[in-house]
């Protein structure tokens, strides 16, 4: 590692003190690695220099925070999850006249567009409102833009079909200059806004909360805080979807959920 643990912990304290931004509940190995990468990528000689820059410049802190919290995902990541969602959750959702979904930690939007495409094919998109949130404002803007490199499309097309896609994937975007832009009518009913799972509270009630591969960065106490948040944000019999390698089963909130799909980590709030 390029720095000592106590140096990194001091940086975390400075950030909390200066900006009120709390990273203390983040898993350390991953956090330290990201700090190390930031130092390397920006040719910053050491963590004390980083601390100084972060302390002095809110704009620099923004850049640091954005790089620190960015996650790199794909469209229809884990196609079998989308198959399960389509088969087992969509039929229940379709019984409601109006559907509300929270995509918590939507990052650059690959999962959001995957979800809207699936809902459109199930004729539910028109009566669904999706709240797409992330702590990182820059990725929210990218999600809103819906522009991705053309080079990724080969994999996404394959994922889309593995995920049970019903149409020609190219119907959903236009390609130009090495990029594709997804049709903006897909996100007509999506609202984007910043939300910090570590500190912000519940803001609505949802039929479905999707939060995949976000809680992997949090320690157990912070995870439990977020599970409470989700519990308070779901209607009775609402669904919670986690990432493939995440599980609510060891947390105290597990008893409030039944397991709807053990492999795909889909849970349903008990009445």
């Amino acid at each position: 590692m390029l720095f000592e643990k106590n140096e990194a912990e001091k940086l975390i304290q400075v950030i909390a003190g200066t900006y009120g931004y709390d990273l203390s509940g983040y898993s350390r190995a991953s956090l330290y690695r990201r700090i190390g990468r930031f130092l390397t990528n920006h040719s910053i000689p050491g963590i004390s220099v980083l601390e100084e820059k972060v302390g002095q410049s809110p704009a620099f802190f923004e850049v640091f925070l954005q790089e620190l919290t960015v996650n790199v995902t794909e469209m229809f990541r884990d196609p079998s999850f989308f198959v399960a969602l389509r088969r087992n959750v969509v039929p229940m959702l379709s019984t409601y006249p109006y559907i509300k979904i929270w995509d918590a930690g939507c990052s650059t939007g690959e999962e959001l567009y995957s979800l809207t495409i699936m809902l459109k094919e199930e004729n539910l998109l028109e009566r669904t409102k999706i709240y797409a949130t992330d702590v990182n404002q820059k990725v929210l803007q990218q999600a809103r833009d819906g522009i991705y490199p053309l080079s990724s499309m080969k994999e996404y097309i394959r994922n889309y079909h593995l995920a049970g896609g019903l149409h020609d994937f190219a119907d959903y975007y236009t390609a130009r200059y090495g990029y594709v832009k997804f049709n903006s009518d897909l996100i007509k009913n999506v609202v984007f806004y910043p939300h910090n799972l570590a500190t912000d509270s519940s803001f609505n009630e949802f039929h479905l909360v999707i939060c995949r591969n976000v809680l992997i960065y949090f320690d157990r106490p912070l995870q439990e805080r977020v599970y409470d948040l989700f519990l308070n944000s779901l209607i009775n019999l609402g669904y919670l979807c986690l990432g493939k390698k995440e599980s609510i089963s060891l947390s105290p909130q597990a008893s409030y959920f039944e397991v709807a799909d053990k492999v795909e980590k889909i849970y349903r709030k008990r009445v």
Partner: protein, 196 residues
Amino acid sequence: MLPEAVVIGGSWGGLEAILRIVSGLPARFALPLIVVLHRGRNFKSELESVIQHRTHLQVREVEEKEKIQEGYLYIAPANYHVPVEQDYTFSLDLSAPVHHSRPSIDVTFESAAEVYGPRLVGVLLTGANVDGASGLKIIADRGGLAIIQDPSEAEADTMPRAALQLCPVRQVMRIDQISQLLLQMHQELQWTGGKS
């Protein structure tokens, strides 16, 4: 110093090499084996069952926050980095691929080196990619034992050769020698009663 964990990385040809190493190890092997193999991203993988079929160790695909225990062979799941935490648990991470790879061998090797220091054994196997070399160097720098598969028997020698260049303090071994060494470590740990 007695080892407390073994990390093994491989890419092209790596599965076959791993199978040869672990097929001779006993059920209650005295060390945890943490395996990072480059693998396809979004396909249902049979890796866990393929390896389980050929070893007495308990094979598990890593779940987040799982505690690292001896007797287990942990496999990094497809499409996640797997850093090791100070409290001997696994984290999962979706930051950008390293050397076009996620899981990246470097990520697991580097973080495990920070946790285990001289009590870590790192093994880098065959592969057509340079991932793992810098991680292996950090293992050696922290006083751990760095082992590179003999490039002359590796199915793809890019990975072991990259490590040979980067990592001056290391041992070069064939698969049968690596397997033998792990078995010796197991026996030594049992005699000293360091582990049950």
